[in-house]
């Protein structure tokens, strides 16, 4: 048993740190630190910086231009990025679609799409959920009917994250309505500029526009945009979901968030003393920190196994549940710490150059608390994860 990083891993961490220190634009990091959302240009700028260094696609093999890091390296990178307030890497093209193309796509598809994902030519979004198909994803109804060398697509996707920026969408569509649900689904790549594709914004409860509805009305999609075989899309989707779960525990986010709560608690005054020494608040912080210390080690245990090729199964579901509970608890602590100054609805102040209303850390905390309720809902809700754990462990 050895709980510490190897000398090579420490050298890697120092390399990442030095890179972030030098290359992460200071104004962008400041914006993220203050709870802002990077706009499209800022996001693309950060992707380009990483791409120059060869670090944009940590999980890709080198032959496709990836870094081919192991799980420990990826964890170190994600943790350092969280601490440095780097924008997150938009995952849809890089860590969701790309692995599917590499595994199931044609040579032509890999040769065409993968370089365009790396160099930022194409922004991808994900067309999975539908209004009637959330947790029960296999019941999806968006229909693709083959007509000659095209599919004609009709239907509606929802919760499409950053679909307003996207050039392309990868979709699960129903190609055979007459078989068992899972066996009539195909995986289709659709150009968002095709006539009949319409993106409608969904405004979330914190006033942000990050998700959308995507409507398809008689959209003509060339058959060469089918990935793999027709009606095998569910298999590809499940493969994709295992890749969606990298960094699922969000340990870096939680550690950075907890450090920020502690800074707030030292600055806030309660009854003439710093909030940090208030026994009730201190106990709340301590409990979360204790949970986080244990989860960080659970995460590393699972990552160590993954680094030697043992793919995580239910452990990923466990990390998702625990990881999101801890992150949400930290968001709740930040909200509490800000006191009355959590009340202003300050999205424009966070985004712009205006002076904050109260202390600068207070502006985004309530919005973040509400926005991050999504963590336990998306990517397979925590209820779905618990179902998976029980099913696997009880052999159902």
């Amino acid at each position: 048993m050895d709980l510490s990083y190897s000398p090579e891993e420490i050298a890697f961490r120092d390399e990442v740190r030095a890179f972030l220190d030098e290359k992460l634009p200071k104004d962008l990091a400041e914006k993220i630190r203050r709870g802002g959302h990077p706009d499209k240009a800022e996001q693309e700028q950060w992707h380009a910086i990483l791409n120059v260094r060869g670090w944009l696609a940590p999980n890709w093999p080198r032959e496709f231009g990836g870094a081919e890091w192991n799980a420990v390296q990826r964890h170190i990178f994600e943790e350092e990025c969280a601490f440095a307030s780097a924008p997150r890497i938009v995952p849809f093209g890089l860590s969701m679609l790309a692995p599917v193309l590499m595994k199931f796509g044609s040579k032509e598809q890999c040769g065409h799409y993968l370089p365009r994902i790396l160099d930022g030519t194409d922004w991808w979004c994900q067309g999975y959920s539908e209004p009637g198909a959330g947790s029960d994803l296999a019941s999806l109804k968006t229909r693709a009917v083959r007509e000659g060398d095209h599919y004609i697509v009709n239907g509606q996707k929802t919760w499409t994250t950053l679909g307003q920026y996207a050039d392309w969408i990868f979709c699960l569509v129903r190609t055979d309505p007459n078989v068992k649900q899972q066996e009539g689904i195909s995986f289709l790549l659709i150009d968002m500029n095709t006539p009949g594709v319409e993106v409608r914004p969904i405004i979330l409860l914190d006033g942000t526009h990050e998700v959308n509805e995507v409507w398809f009305t008689d959209v003509k999609v060339p058959v060469e945009n089918l990935v793999g075989e027709e009606n095998k899309g569910w298999t590809y989707a499940k493969y994709l979901l295992t890749h969606e779960r990298t960094n699922i525990a969000g340990v870096g986010f939680s550690e950075a968030g907890l450090a920020s709560v502690k800074r707030m608690a030292r600055a806030e005054m309660s009854g003439g003393k710093p909030l940090a020494v208030n026994p009730h608040f201190a106990a709340r912080v301590a409990k979360v920190e204790i949970d986080l210390m244990a989860m960080a080690t659970t995460n590393l245990r699972i990552i160590s196994k993954a680094a030697v090729g043992q793919a995580p199964g239910v452990e990923a579901s466990m990390l998702k549940v625990k990881g999101t509970i801890i992150r949400q608890e930290i968001n709740d602590l930040a909200r509490r710490a800000a006191g009355p100054y959590a009340m202003p609805f300050a999205s424009e102040l966070v985004e712009g150059d205006n002076d904050p209303i109260g202390p600068d850390y207070a502006g985004p905390v309530a919005a973040k608390y509400f926005n991050n309720r999504k963590l336990s809902i998306f990517g397979g809700s925590n209820e779905i994860q618990r179902g998976i754990i029980a099913k696997v462990k009880m052999g159902g």
């Binding site: 019941s139 969904i202 409860l205 009355p340 509400f370 999504k374 809902i377 998306f378």
Partner: protein
């Protein structure tokens, strides 16, 4: 023992509930929240005519209520409908302080408030006072016949709409002393008073209020010099009854929306409420809602007790409502899924009202500490 509302309160509850159900829809409210003033004059006037404001004042103050259960009845319904109009600020805090401390001339304003023609705000909290009611650093200095105010007030709800802002300021003693605090009626637009307004997360508006050499006549003082604290504590107690009841009403809506959704939303071929994992969690919410209702009844029922006993019950209610409120808001969202995260769905606003209650006049921990202090022999 009788836990029924009186006939008058029952009528008020019925008419208020009916009016808000018809007139205060999600769409209407979202338009109000997005408007420049963050409130609707039309709704304000109509609710004043229904007697909503009058019910918050005692007969000798010109109203027809003013007891703990009048406050809880009105605010439960306001909470149920997610009303953002500032009844707490204009009536309970502003109007209540004038009614408690004002001279005959000042008390004329209470009549205007009850009629719906005057808005008020209570500028008390300061940038570092958090929830501590006695931590007042804004200063009031005598200057000949007049008074000069200097200081800064934080998150003053309804300040921009208020015809008068009631400003607390220290005439003697140190920050943290209860003695030495006075209240002053400052007309909107007074020289030296500047407002920086902004919208609030849960709807409505507030402002940072800066007082820079604000000169007032001596007649602007409410009550005796340096002796305002007991009245502040009493009106804050009333406001805490109102906030607890408002959150409870909002929680009822959240739980009811969740019930409807669990029964109608189908996944895997059946209503999701038929999954035991969700059914049990819904049952837990109902169990906690009974606790919340009783906590509000305790607070309202002990509102006329001596201050210490009153405040102990109010602290207990705010602590319990804070805990249950968070559970109800978070579980309601979680059991809905993504739909509850969207601005156009009723639960989004309701959940924000519930959670953000925890940032007004003390959060769950503050009220726990108050309860411990007030329970000590």
């Amino acid at each position: 023992m009788n836990f029924d509302l009186t006939e008058e309160r029952q009528m008020l509850q019925d008419s208020l509930r009916r009016f808000l159900k018809d007139r205060y829809t999600t769409d209407t409210r979202n338009r109000i929240i997005d408007s420049d003033t963050g409130m609707s004059d039309e709704i304000w006037t109509a609710l004043a005519e229904l007697g909503v404001i009058g019910a918050l004042f005692a007969e000798e103050q010109g109203g027809f209520g003013g007891a703990g259960f009048d406050i809880s009845t009105v605010f439960e319904e306001l909470g149920r409908a997610g009303v953002v109009e500032p009844f707490l600020d204009t009536a309970i805090l502003g109007g209540g302080l004038i009614a408690a401390l004002g001279d005959d001339a000042q008390k004329q304003m209470v009549e205007e408030v009850i009629g719906g023609g005057l808005h008020l705000a209570f500028a008390h909290g300061e940038p570092t006072s958090r929830y501590d009611l006695s931590r007042v650093e804004t200063s009031a200095k005598s200057d000949g016949d007049g008074i000069v105010l200097n200081g800064r007030k934080a998150v003053v709800v309804n300040a921009e709409a208020a015809g008068r802002i009631i400003v607390s300021a220290r005439e003697s003693g140190d920050a943290g002393d209860e003695a030495g605090i006075s209240l002053f009626l400052v007309p909107a637009g007074t020289d030296g008073m500047t407002l920086r307004g902004y919208p609030l997360m849960s709807g409505g508006r507030a402002a940072e209020v800066t007082l820079d050499e604000v000169r007032l006549p001596g007649s602007a003082r409410l009550g005796a010099a340096g002796a305002a604290f007991p009245a502040i504590a009493a009106q804050v107690a009333a406001a805490n009854v109102a906030l607890a009841a408002e959150a409870m009403g909002a929680m009822e809506t959240a739980v009811e929306l969740t019930r409807e959704y669990l029964m109608t939303r189908k996944q895997f071929g059946r209503p999701i409420g038929t999954f035991q994992a969700l059914a049990h969690r819904y049952s837990d919410l109902l169990i906690e809602m009974e606790q919340a209702r009783s906590a509000v009844i305790n607070a309202a029922g002990h509102f006329a007790d001596p201050a210490r006993e009153r405040d102990r019950h109010i602290a207990s209610a705010r602590n319990l409502i804070g805990r249950v409120g968070r559970l109800v808001a978070e579980e309601s969202i979680q059991m809905h899924g993504g739909i509850a995260m969207t601005q156009e769905y009723e639960l989004a606003h309701i959940a924000k009202r519930i959670v953000m209650t925890d940032h007004r006049l003390g959060d769950t921990d503050y009220h726990l500490e108050r309860f411990i202090d007030l329970s000590a022999a």
